[in-house]
Protein backbone atom coordinates (compact mmCIF):
# COMPACT_ATOMS: atom_id res chain seq x y z
CA UNK A 1 0.00 0.00 0.00
CA UNK A 2 2.81 2.39 0.94
CA UNK A 3 6.30 2.01 -0.45
CA UNK A 4 9.04 4.37 0.69
CA UNK A 5 12.01 3.68 -1.50
CA UNK A 6 15.48 4.95 -0.61
CA UNK A 7 14.19 8.29 0.64
CA UNK A 8 16.70 10.85 1.92
CA UNK A 9 16.42 14.34 3.31
CA UNK A 10 19.37 16.62 3.75
CA UNK A 11 19.10 19.84 5.77
CA UNK A 12 22.28 21.68 4.82
CA UNK A 13 25.08 19.56 6.25
CA UNK A 14 22.74 17.31 8.24
CA UNK A 15 21.48 14.09 6.71
CA UNK A 16 18.18 13.87 8.63
CA UNK A 17 16.98 10.80 6.77
CA UNK A 18 19.48 8.69 4.86
CA UNK A 19 18.10 6.39 2.19
CA UNK A 20 15.26 5.00 4.29
CA UNK A 21 13.14 2.21 2.87
CA UNK A 22 9.86 1.03 4.27
CA UNK A 23 6.93 -0.87 2.89
CA UNK A 24 3.47 -1.42 4.29
CA UNK A 25 0.81 -3.94 3.38
CA UNK A 26 -2.81 -2.98 3.99
CA UNK A 27 -4.06 -3.60 7.52
CA UNK A 28 -2.30 -3.75 10.84
CA UNK A 29 -0.40 -1.39 13.08
CA UNK A 30 3.25 -0.79 12.26
CA UNK A 31 5.57 1.05 14.62
CA UNK A 32 8.36 3.44 13.77
CA UNK A 33 10.74 3.84 16.68
CA UNK A 34 14.17 5.25 17.22
CA UNK A 35 16.11 7.57 19.53
CA UNK A 36 15.41 11.31 19.60
CA UNK A 37 16.60 13.04 16.47
CA UNK A 38 16.61 9.85 14.42
CA UNK A 39 14.54 11.46 11.66
CA UNK A 40 11.18 9.79 12.37
CA UNK A 41 9.10 12.94 12.13
CA UNK A 42 11.03 14.07 9.04
CA UNK A 43 10.19 10.75 7.40
CA UNK A 44 6.52 11.25 8.35
CA UNK A 45 6.57 14.73 6.89
CA UNK A 46 7.92 13.35 3.62
CA UNK A 47 5.26 10.65 3.47
CA UNK A 48 2.50 13.20 4.13
CA UNK A 49 3.96 15.75 1.71
CA UNK A 50 5.06 18.56 4.02
CA UNK A 51 8.75 18.11 3.22
CA UNK A 52 10.09 17.22 -0.22
CA UNK A 53 12.70 14.47 -0.14
CA UNK A 54 16.19 15.23 -1.46
CA UNK A 55 16.27 11.79 -2.98
CA UNK A 56 14.14 8.66 -3.37
CA UNK A 57 10.53 7.87 -4.26
CA UNK A 58 7.31 7.43 -2.32
CA UNK A 59 4.48 5.37 -3.78
CA UNK A 60 0.97 4.99 -2.40
CA UNK A 61 -1.25 2.25 -3.80
CA UNK A 62 1.01 1.96 -6.80
CA UNK A 63 1.02 5.69 -7.67
CA UNK A 64 4.14 7.80 -7.35
CA UNK A 65 3.19 10.61 -4.96
CA UNK A 66 6.68 11.97 -4.27
CA UNK A 67 5.88 15.40 -5.72
CA UNK A 68 2.26 15.71 -4.59
CA UNK A 69 0.91 18.43 -2.31
CA UNK A 70 -0.19 17.40 1.21
CA UNK A 71 -3.88 18.03 0.48
CA UNK A 72 -3.76 15.73 -2.56
CA UNK A 73 -2.29 12.98 -0.41
CA UNK A 74 -5.05 13.51 2.15
CA UNK A 75 -7.56 13.08 -0.68
CA UNK A 76 -5.86 9.82 -1.63
CA UNK A 77 -6.32 8.61 1.92
CA UNK A 78 -3.20 9.48 3.88
CA UNK A 79 -4.12 11.04 7.21
CA UNK A 80 -1.63 12.34 9.75
CA UNK A 81 -1.48 13.79 13.24
CA UNK A 82 1.14 16.24 14.42
CA UNK A 83 3.57 15.53 17.22
CA UNK A 84 3.12 19.12 18.39
CA UNK A 85 -0.65 19.31 18.44
CA UNK A 86 -2.09 21.86 16.03
CA UNK A 87 -5.69 22.51 17.04
CA UNK A 88 -7.72 25.26 15.36
CA UNK A 89 -7.77 26.98 18.72
CA UNK A 90 -10.50 29.49 17.91
CA UNK A 91 -12.98 26.81 16.85
CA UNK A 92 -15.01 24.33 18.86
CA UNK A 93 -14.06 20.67 19.01
CA UNK A 94 -16.88 19.83 16.65
CA UNK A 95 -15.85 22.49 14.12
CA UNK A 96 -12.26 21.25 14.30
CA UNK A 97 -13.25 17.71 13.41
CA UNK A 98 -15.71 18.91 10.78
CA UNK A 99 -12.85 20.45 8.79
CA UNK A 100 -11.54 16.92 8.35
CA UNK A 101 -14.99 15.52 7.65
CA UNK A 102 -15.61 18.10 4.91
CA UNK A 103 -12.98 16.31 2.80
CA UNK A 104 -15.47 13.57 1.95
CA UNK A 105 -18.75 15.28 2.86
CA UNK A 106 -19.51 18.50 1.03
CA UNK A 107 -22.75 19.24 2.92
CA UNK A 108 -22.54 20.89 6.32
CA UNK A 109 -25.11 18.60 7.92
CA UNK A 110 -23.25 15.48 6.74
CA UNK A 111 -19.87 16.82 7.84
CA UNK A 112 -21.17 17.75 11.29
CA UNK A 113 -22.84 14.36 11.69
CA UNK A 114 -19.59 12.64 10.73
CA UNK A 115 -17.65 14.88 13.14
CA UNK A 116 -19.98 13.97 16.01
CA UNK A 117 -19.68 10.30 15.24
CA UNK A 118 -15.87 10.44 15.17
CA UNK A 119 -15.78 12.53 18.35
CA UNK A 120 -17.79 9.92 20.21
CA UNK A 121 -15.49 7.19 18.96
CA UNK A 122 -12.36 8.81 20.35
CA UNK A 123 -14.08 9.84 23.56
CA UNK A 124 -14.58 13.54 22.82
CA UNK A 125 -18.37 13.30 22.79
CA UNK A 126 -18.92 15.46 25.90
CA UNK A 127 -16.48 18.15 24.70
CA UNK A 128 -18.06 18.75 21.27
CA UNK A 129 -19.10 22.35 21.84
CA UNK A 130 -16.08 23.44 23.87
CA UNK A 131 -13.41 25.63 22.29
CA UNK A 132 -10.48 23.47 21.22
CA UNK A 133 -8.07 25.90 22.88
CA UNK A 134 -9.47 24.91 26.29
CA UNK A 135 -8.80 21.18 26.00
CA UNK A 136 -6.30 19.32 28.20
CA UNK A 137 -3.21 17.73 26.64
CA UNK A 138 -4.98 14.39 26.48
CA UNK A 139 -7.99 16.07 24.91
CA UNK A 140 -5.85 17.75 22.28
CA UNK A 141 -4.20 14.45 21.39
CA UNK A 142 -7.62 12.90 20.97
CA UNK A 143 -8.64 15.86 18.83
CA UNK A 144 -5.62 15.35 16.56
CA UNK A 145 -6.65 11.74 16.18
CA UNK A 146 -10.31 12.61 15.59
CA UNK A 147 -9.57 15.21 12.91
CA UNK A 148 -7.32 12.84 10.98
CA UNK A 149 -9.87 10.07 11.35
CA UNK A 150 -12.66 12.30 10.04
CA UNK A 151 -10.90 12.46 6.67
CA UNK A 152 -11.61 8.71 6.43
CA UNK A 153 -8.02 7.73 5.69
CA UNK A 154 -6.78 4.39 4.41
CA UNK A 155 -3.39 5.01 5.97
CA UNK A 156 -3.10 6.88 9.25
CA UNK A 157 0.24 8.31 10.36
CA UNK A 158 0.26 8.85 14.13
CA UNK A 159 3.13 10.97 15.41
CA UNK A 160 3.49 10.32 19.15
CA UNK A 161 -0.19 10.44 20.03
CA UNK A 162 0.63 8.94 23.42
CA UNK A 163 3.43 11.31 24.40
CA UNK A 164 2.58 13.50 27.36
CA UNK A 165 -0.28 11.30 28.51
CA UNK A 166 -0.37 9.63 31.92
CA UNK A 167 -0.64 5.83 32.18
CA UNK A 168 -4.40 5.81 32.68
CA UNK A 169 -4.92 8.10 29.68
CA UNK A 170 -2.72 5.78 27.62
CA UNK A 171 -4.79 2.82 28.77
CA UNK A 172 -7.92 4.66 27.59
CA UNK A 173 -6.64 5.50 24.15
CA UNK A 174 -5.04 2.18 23.19
CA UNK A 175 -8.38 0.45 22.55
CA UNK A 176 -9.39 3.41 20.38
CA UNK A 177 -6.33 2.89 18.17
CA UNK A 178 -7.01 -0.84 18.01
CA UNK A 179 -10.60 -0.09 17.03
CA UNK A 180 -9.40 2.06 14.14
CA UNK A 181 -7.17 -0.77 12.94
CA UNK A 182 -10.05 -3.25 13.20
CA UNK A 183 -12.04 -1.12 10.77
CA UNK A 184 -9.39 -1.70 8.15
CA UNK A 185 -7.28 1.45 8.49
CA UNK A 186 -3.56 0.80 8.21
CA UNK A 187 -1.67 2.60 10.96
CA UNK A 188 1.95 3.71 10.99
CA UNK A 189 2.85 5.13 14.37
CA UNK A 190 5.87 6.89 15.78
CA UNK A 191 5.97 6.08 19.47
CA UNK A 192 8.32 6.35 22.41
CA UNK A 193 6.07 4.60 24.90
CA UNK A 194 7.58 1.12 24.47
CA UNK A 195 4.88 -0.66 26.44
CA UNK A 196 2.35 0.61 23.90
CA UNK A 197 4.55 -0.32 20.96
CA UNK A 198 4.90 -3.88 22.29
CA UNK A 199 1.19 -3.97 22.92
CA UNK A 200 -0.08 -2.59 19.63
CA UNK A 201 2.38 -3.10 16.83
CA UNK A 202 2.69 -6.20 14.73
CA UNK A 203 5.87 -5.00 13.14
CA UNK A 204 8.37 -2.28 13.98
CA UNK A 205 10.85 -0.27 11.97
CA UNK A 206 13.81 1.25 13.79
CA UNK A 207 15.36 4.45 12.56
CA UNK A 208 18.64 5.69 14.02
CA UNK A 209 20.62 8.68 12.76
CA UNK A 210 18.52 8.74 9.65
CA UNK A 211 19.11 5.11 8.72
CA UNK A 212 16.71 2.21 8.94
CA UNK A 213 18.68 -0.20 11.14
CA UNK A 214 16.19 -2.93 11.94
CA UNK A 215 12.75 -4.25 11.13
CA UNK A 216 10.61 -7.04 12.50
CA UNK A 217 8.28 -8.07 15.33
CA UNK A 218 8.69 -5.79 18.38
CA UNK A 219 10.14 -8.44 20.69
CA UNK A 220 12.81 -9.45 18.19
CA UNK A 221 13.69 -5.85 17.38
CA UNK A 222 14.14 -4.97 21.05
CA UNK A 223 16.62 -7.79 21.46
CA UNK A 224 18.57 -6.69 18.38
CA UNK A 225 22.06 -5.61 19.35
CA UNK A 226 22.08 -2.72 16.82
CA UNK A 227 18.86 -1.33 18.27
CA UNK A 228 20.13 -1.49 21.85
CA UNK A 229 23.33 0.26 20.80
CA UNK A 230 21.39 2.94 18.98
CA UNK A 231 19.47 3.76 22.15
CA UNK A 232 22.11 3.18 24.81
CA UNK A 233 25.38 3.81 23.05
CA UNK A 234 28.26 1.82 21.64
CA UNK A 235 29.09 -1.34 23.57
CA UNK A 236 25.85 -1.33 25.55
CA UNK A 237 24.59 -4.55 24.01
CA UNK A 238 27.72 -6.44 25.01
CA UNK A 239 27.63 -4.97 28.53
CA UNK A 240 23.99 -5.93 28.98
CA UNK A 241 24.74 -9.44 27.82
CA UNK A 242 27.67 -9.75 30.18
CA UNK A 243 25.60 -8.44 33.09
CA UNK A 244 22.80 -10.80 32.18
CA UNK A 245 25.26 -13.71 32.21
CA UNK A 246 26.71 -12.63 35.57
CA UNK A 247 23.26 -12.47 37.17
CA UNK A 248 22.08 -15.61 35.45
Amino acid sequence: MLAVDGVSKRFGGLMAVDSATLSLEPGGIIGLIGPNGAGKTTLFSMISGFIAPTDGRIRFEGTDITAEEPHRRAERGIGRTFQIVQPFAGLTVCENIAVGAYLRHAKRADAIAKAREVARRVGLGPELDRPAGGLTVAGRKRLELARALATEPKLLLLDEVLAGLNPSEIRDIIPVIRGIRDEGVTILMIEHVMQAVMNLCERVYVLAQGRMIAEGPPAAVCADARVIEAYLGHGAAARLKAEGAAHG
Binding site: A74, F88, A89, G90, L91, A111, T151
Partner: protein
Protein backbone atom coordinates in the same frame (compact mmCIF):
# COMPACT_ATOMS: atom_id res chain seq x y z
CA UNK B 1 -28.54 27.88 5.95
CA UNK B 2 -31.47 27.72 8.34
CA UNK B 3 -34.20 30.26 9.06
CA UNK B 4 -32.30 31.23 12.22
CA UNK B 5 -29.34 32.24 10.07
CA UNK B 6 -31.44 34.40 7.78
CA UNK B 7 -33.91 36.11 10.11
CA UNK B 8 -31.48 38.64 11.66
CA UNK B 9 -30.34 39.72 8.19
CA UNK B 10 -33.91 40.02 6.93
CA UNK B 11 -35.10 41.97 9.98
CA UNK B 12 -32.22 44.44 9.93
CA UNK B 13 -32.55 44.97 6.18
CA UNK B 14 -36.28 45.68 6.43
CA UNK B 15 -35.77 48.08 9.34
CA UNK B 16 -33.00 49.87 7.46
CA UNK B 17 -35.16 50.02 4.34
CA UNK B 18 -37.90 51.81 6.28
CA UNK B 19 -35.51 54.57 7.42
CA UNK B 20 -35.89 56.91 4.41
CA UNK B 21 -39.65 56.95 4.97
CA UNK B 22 -39.04 58.53 8.38
CA UNK B 23 -35.85 60.49 7.76
CA UNK B 24 -35.88 62.75 4.73
CA UNK B 25 -32.95 65.02 5.58
CA UNK B 26 -30.48 64.77 2.73
CA UNK B 27 -27.54 65.16 5.15
CA UNK B 28 -28.62 62.06 7.02
CA UNK B 29 -29.24 60.12 3.81
CA UNK B 30 -25.84 61.17 2.49
CA UNK B 31 -24.28 59.95 5.70
CA UNK B 32 -26.14 56.63 5.50
CA UNK B 33 -25.27 56.02 1.86
CA UNK B 34 -21.60 56.75 2.45
CA UNK B 35 -21.50 54.59 5.58
CA UNK B 36 -23.21 51.71 3.80
CA UNK B 37 -20.74 51.95 0.92
CA UNK B 38 -17.89 51.76 3.42
CA UNK B 39 -19.50 48.84 5.22
CA UNK B 40 -19.92 47.02 1.91
CA UNK B 41 -16.23 47.41 1.11
CA UNK B 42 -15.42 46.48 4.70
CA UNK B 43 -17.43 43.30 4.28
CA UNK B 44 -15.17 42.51 1.35
CA UNK B 45 -12.13 43.01 3.57
CA UNK B 46 -13.75 40.86 6.25
CA UNK B 47 -14.14 37.86 3.91
CA UNK B 48 -10.39 37.74 3.35
CA UNK B 49 -9.11 39.26 6.60
CA UNK B 50 -11.75 38.13 9.07
CA UNK B 51 -12.53 34.64 7.83
CA UNK B 52 -9.26 33.93 6.01
CA UNK B 53 -6.90 35.65 8.45
CA UNK B 54 -5.07 37.35 5.56
CA UNK B 55 -4.83 40.97 6.70
CA UNK B 56 -4.76 43.25 3.71
CA UNK B 57 -3.55 46.79 4.13
CA UNK B 58 -4.34 47.70 0.55
CA UNK B 59 -7.99 47.08 -0.15
CA UNK B 60 -7.94 50.42 -1.91
CA UNK B 61 -6.53 48.40 -4.82
CA UNK B 62 -9.96 46.80 -5.23
CA UNK B 63 -12.06 49.82 -4.23
CA UNK B 64 -10.21 51.98 -6.75
CA UNK B 65 -10.38 49.34 -9.46
CA UNK B 66 -14.16 49.18 -9.07
CA UNK B 67 -14.45 52.96 -9.23
CA UNK B 68 -12.11 53.43 -12.17
CA UNK B 69 -13.41 50.52 -14.24
CA UNK B 70 -17.00 51.73 -14.18
CA UNK B 71 -16.00 55.38 -14.76
CA UNK B 72 -13.69 54.59 -17.67
CA UNK B 73 -16.14 52.16 -19.27
CA UNK B 74 -18.88 54.79 -19.18
CA UNK B 75 -16.74 57.74 -20.25
CA UNK B 76 -14.48 56.21 -22.86
CA UNK B 77 -16.53 53.31 -24.19
CA UNK B 78 -20.09 54.43 -23.61
CA UNK B 79 -20.91 51.30 -21.63
CA UNK B 80 -24.13 51.37 -19.67
CA UNK B 81 -23.65 52.08 -15.95
CA UNK B 82 -25.34 48.87 -14.82
CA UNK B 83 -23.12 46.81 -17.09
CA UNK B 84 -20.22 48.89 -15.79
CA UNK B 85 -21.19 47.88 -12.27
CA UNK B 86 -21.09 44.20 -13.16
CA UNK B 87 -17.81 44.53 -15.05
CA UNK B 88 -16.23 46.58 -12.26
CA UNK B 89 -17.12 43.87 -9.75
CA UNK B 90 -15.64 41.22 -12.04
CA UNK B 91 -12.51 43.34 -12.54
CA UNK B 92 -12.10 43.61 -8.75
CA UNK B 93 -12.37 39.86 -8.40
CA UNK B 94 -9.78 39.39 -11.14
CA UNK B 95 -7.35 41.88 -9.60
CA UNK B 96 -7.87 40.10 -6.28
CA UNK B 97 -7.11 36.74 -7.83
CA UNK B 98 -3.94 38.05 -9.51
CA UNK B 99 -2.63 39.75 -6.36
CA UNK B 100 -3.50 36.61 -4.41
CA UNK B 101 -1.81 34.35 -6.93
CA UNK B 102 1.37 36.40 -6.85
CA UNK B 103 1.57 36.67 -3.08
CA UNK B 104 0.03 33.42 -1.77
CA UNK B 105 1.86 31.21 -4.24
CA UNK B 106 5.13 32.51 -2.87
CA UNK B 107 3.88 31.83 0.64
CA UNK B 108 3.50 35.43 1.85
CA UNK B 109 1.67 35.65 5.16
CA UNK B 110 1.01 38.07 7.97
CA UNK B 111 2.78 41.40 7.80
CA UNK B 112 4.49 40.49 4.51
CA UNK B 113 1.15 39.98 2.84
CA UNK B 114 -0.11 43.25 4.35
CA UNK B 115 2.89 45.13 2.96
CA UNK B 116 2.51 43.61 -0.50
CA UNK B 117 -1.15 44.62 -0.70
CA UNK B 118 -0.22 48.12 0.44
CA UNK B 119 2.41 48.23 -2.29
CA UNK B 120 -0.11 47.17 -4.95
CA UNK B 121 -2.56 49.85 -3.87
CA UNK B 122 0.14 52.51 -3.94
CA UNK B 123 1.37 51.43 -7.37
CA UNK B 124 -2.20 51.63 -8.69
CA UNK B 125 -2.61 55.07 -7.12
CA UNK B 126 0.54 56.41 -8.69
CA UNK B 127 -0.29 54.92 -12.09
CA UNK B 128 -3.84 56.27 -12.02
CA UNK B 129 -2.49 59.65 -11.00
CA UNK B 130 0.00 59.72 -13.87
CA UNK B 131 -1.77 58.14 -16.84
CA UNK B 132 -3.96 60.30 -19.05
CA UNK B 133 -6.18 57.28 -19.69
CA UNK B 134 -7.38 57.47 -16.09
CA UNK B 135 -7.73 61.25 -16.20
CA UNK B 136 -4.44 61.82 -14.40
CA UNK B 137 -4.43 64.09 -11.39
CA UNK B 138 -7.58 65.83 -12.60
CA UNK B 139 -9.58 62.65 -12.04
CA UNK B 140 -12.71 61.52 -13.83
CA UNK B 141 -16.14 63.08 -13.83
CA UNK B 142 -18.99 60.74 -14.66
CA UNK B 143 -21.47 62.65 -16.78
CA UNK B 144 -24.52 63.82 -14.88
CA UNK B 145 -27.52 62.26 -16.56
CA UNK B 146 -30.14 61.44 -13.97
CA UNK B 147 -31.92 58.36 -15.25
CA UNK B 148 -32.39 55.00 -13.51
CA UNK B 149 -30.91 53.38 -16.64
CA UNK B 150 -27.71 55.30 -15.88
CA UNK B 151 -27.68 54.27 -12.24
CA UNK B 152 -28.39 57.86 -11.25
CA UNK B 153 -31.49 58.78 -9.30
CA UNK B 154 -33.01 62.14 -8.44
CA UNK B 155 -34.10 60.74 -5.09
CA UNK B 156 -31.26 59.90 -2.70
CA UNK B 157 -33.48 57.33 -1.01
CA UNK B 158 -33.49 55.18 -4.14
CA UNK B 159 -29.71 55.04 -4.18
CA UNK B 160 -29.80 54.28 -0.48
CA UNK B 161 -32.11 51.31 -1.13
CA UNK B 162 -29.87 50.11 -3.92
CA UNK B 163 -26.76 50.17 -1.72
CA UNK B 164 -28.74 48.57 1.08
CA UNK B 165 -29.76 45.75 -1.26
CA UNK B 166 -26.11 45.09 -2.08
CA UNK B 167 -25.20 45.21 1.61
CA UNK B 168 -27.96 42.70 2.37
CA UNK B 169 -26.76 40.47 -0.46
CA UNK B 170 -23.20 40.44 0.88
CA UNK B 171 -24.50 39.76 4.38
CA UNK B 172 -26.19 36.69 2.90
CA UNK B 173 -23.00 35.81 1.05
CA UNK B 174 -21.02 36.08 4.27
CA UNK B 175 -23.56 33.97 6.14
CA UNK B 176 -23.33 31.38 3.40
CA UNK B 177 -19.54 31.39 3.70
CA UNK B 178 -19.86 30.90 7.44
CA UNK B 179 -22.07 27.86 6.95
CA UNK B 180 -20.33 26.26 3.99
CA UNK B 181 -17.45 23.89 3.43
CA UNK B 182 -15.53 26.73 1.81
CA UNK B 183 -15.95 28.84 4.94
CA UNK B 184 -14.89 26.03 7.26
CA UNK B 185 -11.78 25.47 5.18
CA UNK B 186 -11.06 29.20 5.04
CA UNK B 187 -11.27 29.51 8.82
CA UNK B 188 -9.12 26.40 9.19
CA UNK B 189 -6.45 28.02 7.01
CA UNK B 190 -6.66 31.14 9.20
CA UNK B 191 -6.25 29.13 12.40
CA UNK B 192 -3.48 26.80 11.25
CA UNK B 193 -2.51 26.37 7.63
CA UNK B 194 -0.43 23.21 8.02
CA UNK B 195 -3.09 21.41 10.00
CA UNK B 196 -5.63 22.40 7.35
CA UNK B 197 -3.44 21.00 4.57
CA UNK B 198 -3.06 17.73 6.44
CA UNK B 199 -6.85 17.48 6.48
CA UNK B 200 -7.04 17.78 2.71
CA UNK B 201 -7.62 21.53 2.43
CA UNK B 202 -6.12 23.02 -0.73
CA UNK B 203 -5.04 26.16 1.08
CA UNK B 204 -3.89 28.05 -2.02
CA UNK B 205 -7.19 27.47 -3.79
CA UNK B 206 -9.19 28.44 -0.73
CA UNK B 207 -7.22 31.66 -0.24
CA UNK B 208 -7.48 32.56 -3.93
CA UNK B 209 -11.23 32.07 -3.84
CA UNK B 210 -11.45 34.26 -0.74
CA UNK B 211 -9.37 37.09 -2.19
CA UNK B 212 -11.34 37.01 -5.45
CA UNK B 213 -14.64 37.24 -3.56
CA UNK B 214 -13.18 39.92 -1.32
CA UNK B 215 -11.86 41.93 -4.27
CA UNK B 216 -15.19 41.65 -6.07
CA UNK B 217 -17.25 42.88 -3.11
CA UNK B 218 -14.87 45.76 -2.39
CA UNK B 219 -14.77 46.74 -6.08
CA UNK B 220 -18.56 46.83 -6.03
CA UNK B 221 -18.42 49.31 -3.16
CA UNK B 222 -15.88 51.42 -5.07
CA UNK B 223 -18.14 51.38 -8.11
CA UNK B 224 -21.12 52.51 -6.03
CA UNK B 225 -18.98 55.28 -4.56
CA UNK B 226 -18.08 56.56 -8.04
CA UNK B 227 -21.69 56.30 -9.12
CA UNK B 228 -22.96 58.23 -6.12
CA UNK B 229 -20.45 61.07 -6.04
CA UNK B 230 -19.89 61.02 -9.84
CA UNK B 231 -16.28 62.03 -9.36
CA UNK B 232 -13.11 60.13 -8.56
CA UNK B 233 -9.41 60.80 -8.62
CA UNK B 234 -6.44 58.62 -7.72
CA UNK B 235 -6.21 59.86 -4.14
CA UNK B 236 -9.87 59.13 -3.49
CA UNK B 237 -10.16 55.80 -5.29
CA UNK B 238 -6.74 54.31 -4.54
CA UNK B 239 -5.91 56.41 -1.46
CA UNK B 240 -4.75 54.74 1.72
CA UNK B 241 -7.67 56.39 3.58
CA UNK B 242 -10.03 53.79 2.13
CA UNK B 243 -7.68 50.88 2.90
CA UNK B 244 -7.66 52.03 6.52
CA UNK B 245 -11.44 52.57 6.62
CA UNK B 246 -12.11 49.12 5.23
CA UNK B 247 -10.00 47.31 7.81
CA UNK B 248 -10.94 49.56 10.72
CA UNK B 249 -14.67 48.87 10.42
CA UNK B 250 -14.46 45.07 10.80
CA UNK B 251 -11.85 45.34 13.56
CA UNK B 252 -14.06 47.72 15.54
CA UNK B 253 -17.26 45.83 14.77
CA UNK B 254 -16.03 42.27 15.13
CA UNK B 255 -13.57 40.60 12.82
CA UNK B 256 -14.73 37.39 11.15
CA UNK B 257 -18.38 37.94 12.02
CA UNK B 258 -21.26 38.53 9.62
CA UNK B 259 -22.40 41.88 11.04
CA UNK B 260 -19.05 43.17 12.27
CA UNK B 261 -18.23 45.40 9.29
CA UNK B 262 -21.67 47.04 9.26
CA UNK B 263 -21.66 47.61 13.02
CA UNK B 264 -18.10 48.93 12.87
CA UNK B 265 -18.74 51.30 9.96
CA UNK B 266 -21.91 52.68 11.58
CA UNK B 267 -20.17 53.16 14.93
CA UNK B 268 -17.10 54.82 13.49
CA UNK B 269 -18.91 57.16 11.16
CA UNK B 270 -21.68 57.82 13.66
CA UNK B 271 -19.15 58.90 16.27
CA UNK B 272 -17.20 60.81 13.62
CA UNK B 273 -20.29 62.78 12.64
CA UNK B 274 -21.17 63.52 16.27
CA UNK B 275 -17.64 64.76 16.87
CA UNK B 276 -17.89 66.98 13.79
CA UNK B 277 -21.14 68.44 15.08
CA UNK B 278 -19.57 69.39 18.39
CA UNK B 279 -16.06 70.28 17.30
CA UNK B 280 -16.39 70.85 13.59
CA UNK B 281 -13.88 73.67 13.68
CA UNK B 282 -11.05 71.28 14.51
CA UNK B 283 -9.98 69.74 11.20
CA UNK B 284 -9.70 65.94 11.22
CA UNK B 285 -11.62 65.57 14.50
CA UNK B 286 -13.39 62.49 13.09
CA UNK B 287 -10.04 60.84 12.42
CA UNK B 288 -9.00 61.52 16.01
CA UNK B 289 -12.20 59.81 17.12
CA UNK B 290 -11.44 56.84 14.82
CA UNK B 291 -8.03 56.52 16.45
CA UNK B 292 -9.49 56.70 19.94
CA UNK B 293 -12.11 54.07 19.15
CA UNK B 294 -9.44 51.79 17.67
CA UNK B 295 -7.32 52.09 20.81
CA UNK B 296 -10.35 51.30 22.98
CA UNK B 297 -11.31 48.33 20.83
CA UNK B 298 -7.82 46.87 20.83
CA UNK B 299 -7.42 47.39 24.57
CA UNK B 300 -10.83 46.33 25.83
CA UNK B 301 -12.72 44.52 23.08
CA UNK B 302 -10.48 42.21 21.11
CA UNK B 303 -13.45 40.65 19.34
CA UNK B 304 -14.78 44.11 18.45
CA UNK B 305 -18.17 45.42 19.54
CA UNK B 306 -19.94 42.16 18.68
CA UNK B 307 -17.36 40.16 20.62
CA UNK B 308 -17.82 42.45 23.60
CA UNK B 309 -21.61 42.09 23.47
CA UNK B 310 -21.28 38.31 23.32
CA UNK B 311 -19.01 38.29 26.36
CA UNK B 312 -21.41 40.49 28.27
CA UNK B 313 -24.30 38.24 27.30
CA UNK B 314 -22.41 35.13 28.42
CA UNK B 315 -21.56 36.82 31.70
CA UNK B 316 -25.20 37.78 32.09
CA UNK B 317 -26.27 34.22 31.45
CA UNK B 318 -23.67 32.96 33.90
CA UNK B 319 -25.12 35.24 36.56
CA UNK B 320 -28.64 34.12 35.77
CA UNK B 321 -27.53 30.48 35.95
CA UNK B 322 -25.81 31.07 39.26
CA UNK B 323 -28.86 32.95 40.48
CA UNK B 324 -31.23 30.10 39.72
CA UNK B 325 -28.84 27.68 41.39
CA UNK B 326 -28.87 29.75 44.54
CA UNK B 327 -32.62 29.99 44.42
CA UNK B 328 -32.98 26.23 44.02
CA UNK B 329 -30.54 25.73 46.88
CA UNK B 330 -32.54 28.09 49.02
CA UNK B 331 -35.72 26.25 48.09
CA UNK B 332 -34.34 22.98 49.33
Amino acid sequence: MTARDLIPIAVLTILAALLPLVVTSSTVLNFLVFTLIVSLGAQGWNILGGFGGQFSFGHAAFFGTGAYVTAILQLRYGVNAWAGLALATAAGALVGWVIGFLSFRSGLRGSYFALVTLAFAEVFRILANAASFTGGAAGLLIKLDVRPANLQFDDRAVFYWLVLAFVAATLLLTRWIQRSRFGAQLVAVRENEDAAKALGVDSLKVKLRAIALSGGVTALSGCLYAQYFLYIDANIAYGSWISVELLLAPIIGGVGTVFGPVVGALTLHGLGEVAKQFAGRIPGIDLIVFGGVLVLAVAFARGGILGLLERLRDRGRGMVARGTKEVSHAGR
